[in-house]
């Protein structure tokens, strides 16, 4: 799985190798290259690679673009490499071509200069690696599918990359309880297929499912498209096996639904973004596969006051909850510009008449007749109250996937539109969209597109701004404005993407100083040398 993916990225980057800190990097920063191939499915999947764009701009080294100082960790020596080779024969990679790929994140916004990639297969190997790094004071950057949105999955400097790519075994699946136990490097989509064959589905689903690892999902407390129905990983993860900074293994891989014996330590590691420990195995509660899945894609009437059309979205949501009740499994929205972008960059046609907002409603239940009846009642109500311009319903898998693609592939379409500034915010529902027209007015022609879409049911807006290329001036117009706007409404400046590297300094907009202090203390307790994923998640102490 890894080799082809590496080669695709390697083709798109010029082969910049081990860069000593302070070296100058030629070329413009930012991910502006518009890939010529329109047919690359999201996420980069096993089917073919896009053709090489000539002269793809390099990604600037994080060390160059951002004001970061390398902390006094040791540097990797020949002895270290020999020690690793002894622990993981044949799986210590120093090939510059391979390293070039794993040093850059999916968004092509940050780039480290690690020279070593380690691919352990077992928890024992991870433990040995960390014990060595702890003794030698070597920094480590754990990496799963490298699909994170905040630059948390690649090194900032020369941290050793610890990849879970080869830790992809499913350990057990219990088909009455639906409990799945697997290693952290299992790809989410493959886990999904495995449990689907046995009548279950994974309790989370995201656009990156073809590449992301379950360990990474846990480490980032990924939300996704099924959050509305099945809740957070904090509820569905039953147990974790974690290797701590000093190499000791914390084995909490339970399959119990209820266990109130002592403090729930796994909650510390869920969402800790690889800074408190490395997740090596996960026990998760899967849910029965629904017999009846319906997707309705609706175009909403333009409204009058405030945000034209958004009130209609909220009203539709209210009807949905009332009429569909427990069978509602997803409620996503997107604006007209998102639809234009997926049309232009991915060739996806809009199935309904042009509208200012579109809503995707998914129902999932155990009875076809029961769900159809409820869905029909909801649609009739929405139609007759004049909320909808148009809509379509699908039950066939092919059509369902096609409708979901309109929502799931927006990220891909945006990345082809130019450089993308991404914001992932939790806001009060009534004001969820207001920031978008506000920014459009504020940025004017400096931005190509300002779009809003997201998990309306969870109060989560994905706000994206595209421009020709990265510009410090545009960035300054956006930040801290977006964060202050959010903080003023007591929202979250990172609803589900986490803090990683790119948002490590904004925690203050959503958490009070006392909370941050306690977090630092916990970090100091679990990783006193600070070798796990340094420079990320928490702000550097001044």
């Amino acid at each position: 799985m890894l080799p082809w993916r590496v080669s695709r990225w390697a083709m798109q980057l010029s082969l910049q190798v081990a860069c000593p800190p302070g070296a100058l990097v030629a070329g413009k920063s930012g991910a502006g290259a518009r890939s010529p191939s329109m047919l690359v499915p999201w996420p980069p999947s096993l089917r073919g690679s896009s053709s090489l764009p000539t002269g793809a701009p390099e990604v600037a080294l994080t060390a160059e673009r951002y004001p970061v100082q390398r902390l006094p960790f040791s540097e990797v020596t020949e002895e270290d490499l020999a020690a690793f080779e002894h622990m993981l024969p044949g799986r210590v990679i120093t090939d510059p071509e391979v390293l070039a790929a794993v040093n850059v994140d999916w968004l092509r916004s940050v780039r480290g200069c690690s020279r070593v990639l380690l691919r352990p297969r077992t928890t024992e190997e991870v433990s040995r690696i960390l014990r060595h790094c702890h003794q030698r004071n070597l920094a480590v950057s754990p990496q799963g599918g490298n699909t994170g949105m905040v630059g948390g999955s690649v090194p900032v400097f020369d941290e050793i990359i610890l990849s879970t790519a080869l830790m992809n075994r499913i350990l057990s699946f219990h088909d009455v309880s639906g409990t799945l136990v697997c290693q952290a490097g299992c790809v989410l989509e493959q886990l999904g297929r495995h449990v689907e064959e046995r009548g279950f589905i994974m309790p989370l689903d995201l656009g990156a499912k073809g590449s992301c690892h379950i360990g990474g999902n846990v480490a980032t407390n990924a939300g996704g498209l099924r959050f509305l129905r099945y809740g957070s990983l904090r509820g569905t993860v039953l147990g974790l096996e974690v290797v701590l900074a000093d190499g000791s293994v914390l084995s909490g891989l339970s399959s119990l639904r209820k266990d109130n014996t002592g403090y729930d330590l796994k909650q510390l590691f869920i969402g800790s973004e690889g800074t408190l420990g490395v997740v090596t195995a996960v026990s998760i509660a899967c849910v029965p596969r629904p017999q009846a899945v319906n997707v309705a894609f609706l175009g909403l009437m333009p409204g009058h006051a405030g945000c034209p059309g958004f009130q209609e979205v909220l009203q539709t949501f209210r009807f949905c909850k009332a009429q569909l009740g427990e069978i509602l499994s997803a409620f996503e929205f997107l604006d007209a510009e998102c639809m234009q972008l997926v049309g232009r960059h991915l060739g996806l046609s809009c199935p309904v008449r042009g509208s200012p907002f579109y809503v995707l409603v998914e129902t999932a239940g155990s009875s076809v007749a029961h769900d159809s009846e409820k869905l029909t009642a909801f649609l009739e109500q929405a139609l007759s109250s004049g909320l909808l311009t148009d809509g379509t319903v699908a039950t066939e898998q092919r059509r369902v996937q096609a409708l979901w693609a309109l929502r799931e592939r927006i990220t891909e379409a945006l990345s082809r539109d130019g450089y993308v500034y991404k914001y992932d915010l939790s806001l009060p529902l009534e004001q969820l969209y207001h920031l978008v027209p506000d920014l459009r007015a504020r940025l004017g022609p400096r931005a190509r597109h300002v779009v809003g879409y997201g998990h309306l049911g969870d109060g989560n807006l994905h706000l994206n701004v595209t421009a020709e290329a990265y510009s410090a001036e545009l960035c300054a117009a956006l930040e801290p404005y977006v964060y202050e706007w959010t903080a003023a409404r007591r929202g979250s400046v990172s609803a589900e993407h986490g803090l990683g590297f790119r948002k490590k300094d904004v925690i203050g907009y959503s958490k009070p100083p006392a909370a941050l202090e306690l977090m630092r203390q916990l970090k100091g307790l679990l990783d006193p040398k600070g070798i796990l994923n340094p420079y990320k998640t928490l702000p550097t102490r001044a």
Binding site: Q397, R398, R399, Q401
Partner: protein
């Protein structure tokens, strides 16, 4: 001024996105609890018929399907796309397994005459059996001209111009109506049924009849002996040099 009437045949098949599993007793594939939908080529046929109606070249579009009760869902989809009414030729589930192209063609031929249609539209083949025979047999039984693998369809008075996709490229035929046309992939992109039409479709009529009412005999002279998975592909062997390649080929007796 066309008063043409069109009969569109639609088949309910296992959804294209579903992973097919063979029954352990090898008598067929697992269909219980498996997602079904309209055959993609039949969707294209319905779409073409509805477009002809929108261009006022066809007056009425009748959708027909042969099989058990669930076929009515497929007919409803056709109605939601714009067909005017439906006919369900009811065949009990056990017998439906043995329905082949010849049996369906007999039904369609009888219906075409009974309903006095000018055009019978079908998908070129079904994605479950890949037979690609029903349209051709129907035309044969009716002794009507046929335009198969249609990638373009134009009505010219009492004639039909059909552009066909063939191995060598494209062939254009002119057929005298009434005629049978089977649709290929590039003919059109089927529409999504929109809500108002889905609601309207619930009120459209679906007539339920039996094959016997049409005087059609559904007995088949074909019986399925067994259904099996294709053999597992064994892994290939990589070699480093041409010498190795030659040696390996000799080893397995290929040269």
């Amino acid at each position: 001024m066309a008063e043409l009437r069109a009969l569109v045949a639609v088949k309910r098949v296992i959804d294209f996105a579903v992973k097919i599993r063979v029954k352990p007793d090898k008598t067929g594939v697992v269909t219980d609890g498996v997602k079904h939908s309209m055959n993609p080529f039949c969707e294209i046929a319905v779409e073409e018929a509805v477009r002809l109606k929108e261009k006022k070249l066809v007056k009425e579009v009748v959708a027909v399907s042969c099989g058990p009760t669930q076929c009515q869902e497929t007919i409803r989809t056709a109605l939601a796309m714009g067909a005017d009414r439906g006919i369900h030729v009811e065949v009990p589930a056990a017998e439906a397994d043995r329905l082949g192209p010849l049996q369906v063609a007999r039904v369609l031929a009888k219906l075409a005459e009974k309903e006095k249609v000018d055009l019978v539209l079908l998908g070129k083949q079904a994605i479950d059996d890949d037979c690609n025979q029903t349209g051709q047999m129907t035309a044969g039984l009716l002794d009507w001209p046929q335009g198969t693998f249609a990638s373009q369809l134009t009505v010219e008075g009492d004639k039909l111009k059909v552009e066909r996709e063939i191995d060598g490229g494209l062939e254009t035929l002119r057929l005298k109506l009434p005629a049978v046309v089977t649709t290929d992939l590039r003919l059109n992109e089927p529409r999504y049924a929109t809500l108002p039409n889905i609601m309207k479709a619930k009120k459209k009529k679906i007539e339920v009849i039996k094959a016997g009412d049409l005087g059609v005999d559904l007995t088949s002279k074909i019986s399925v002996v067994s259904v099996e998975d294709p053999p597992q592909r064994t892994a290939g062997v990589k070699v480093e040099t041409t010498e190795d390649l030659v040696a390996k080929l000799k080893e397995i007796g290929r040269i």
